[in-house]
């Protein structure tokens, strides 16, 4: 996955993501594609969650999956999550759960609860940073004010090295793939470098929904695992998603 939040010169925040999933879960030799992404693409839906006839939040979901991986509370905050690998992983959380130690949250139920119940970027940030989890994860959170965007790197129990926008220091976007931002990515799977190269080449003066979509359409940021791209503009309350295809030659991940 690749998630990013960028701030344009007018202080508007754009939050976008490629959802890549299904590594090593079966390869379709005939179509030169992974089995799971091919089965997930028909399930991609945009959902408007409403209460008392007004929108509470919007999301891009896989039908049948009640948790959240990509969502927006219009005019309030935007949230995506990327997978984080760690030896202290979800299997330990599941084991604890089965043994009756149930003080952690399942990742996607936490994101759903935050999108449904949090009332601000700050509150969402606190919940995502402090709630104990069953599995590690990256939460990429955007707000509705200038400077409000952060990468929350979570172990099951801690929030590690939070990274925020810092316009004055020239950090006008934050970008997360599937590696801790303070470490170099695995060289065989470095989608961060090409994505940042394209963001820097675009420059803040030219950042927009259109140019962010260009970045997420550039191989290997676009790869064989990419199922959908979502673009969110919190101040307009606008969420749009597109099913993706990566024509050969294309990186398998």
């Amino acid at each position: 996955c690749t998630s990013l939040v960028a701030e344009d010169p007018e202080g508007n925040l754009i939050h976008a993501r490629n959802l890549d999933f299904g590594l090593f879960l079966g390869w379709d030799k005939k179509n030169h594609s992974w089995v799971i992404p091919d089965k997930l693409k028909p399930l991609v839906v945009n959902v408007d969650f409403r209460r008392n006839n007004s929108t509470v939040f919007k999301s891009t979901n896989f039908a049948g999956y009640v948790g959240m991986l990509t969502g927006m509370q219009p005019n309030s905050f935007t949230l995506t999550m990327n997978e984080r690998f760690s030896l202290d992983g979800g299997y330990i959380g599941i084991l604890e759960w089965i043994l009756g130690k149930r003080d952690g949250m399942w990742m996607s139920f936490l994101t759903r609860s935050v999108l449904e119940n949090a009332t601000s970027y700050a509150q969402a940030q606190k919940l995502l940073s402090d709630t104990k989890l069953l599995a590690p994860a990256y939460f990429i959170l955007g707000g509705n004010q200038t400077g409000e965007a952060s990468i929350i790197t979570r172990s099951r129990t801690h929030n590690l090295n939070p990274l925020e926008l810092d316009i004055k220091q020239g950090r006008w976007y934050v970008l997360e793939t599937n590696y801790d931002h303070w470490k170099t990515p695995l060289f065989l799977d470095d989608r961060r470098t090409p994505a940042m190269k394209c963001m820097n080449q675009t420059t803040q003066a030219n950042i927009s929904v259109q140019t962010v979509y260009d970045v997420l359409s550039t191989k290997p940021v676009l790869n064989k695992l990419t199922t959908y791209t979502t673009l969110m503009q919190v101040s307009k309350g606008k969420l749009e998603s597109f099913i993706r295809v990566c024509p050969n030659p294309c990186m398998p991940w």
Binding site: D48, F49, G64, Y65, S86, Y213, R244
Partner: protein, 121 residues
């Protein structure tokens, strides 16, 4: 990370989406949070149930490839439903409603929804 043609120069002019990297638009649905949790996803799942059945079958095929005896699949269908009431409300009720609306066994709906944690194995 510069291995053309698997990597490429930064793309431009890709929006609005079209061409070989565009796989289609995404349909909008409404989920009414005023409904009982078990009824919220009925309309959406009724539309998508065939695709969900195909997806779940792919996960079962994977389980059978990992454990050819079929024991893993049995475990999913018999053991996972036992944990449904340990999962937080209203998500447990929503999953029951999805199983009812799609005809997919509850254990398989649960596995689909906790796949993030399971996948780390």
């Amino acid at each position: 990370q510069y291995v053309p043609p698997y990597t490429e120069d930064c793309r431009t002019g890709m929006y609005p989406p079209s061409g070989p990297t565009f796989g289609g638009a995404v349909t909008w649905y409404t989920v009414n949070l005023d409904l009982p949790p078990s009824k919220r996803w009925t309309e959406l799942i009724t539309d998508k149930k065939n695709d969900l059945i195909i997806m779940v079958q792919a996960i079962k095929d994977l389980a059978d490839a990992l454990v050819p005896s079929g024991r893993l699949e049995e475990l999913i269908d018999q053991a996972l439903p036992l944990m449904i009431d340990t999962l937080p409300y209203p998500f447990n009720e929503e999953m029951k409603g999805i199983a009812t609306a799609s005809g997919v066994p509850l254990g398989e709906v649960i596995l689909f929804n906790i796949f993030y944690e399971v996948f780390t194995v």
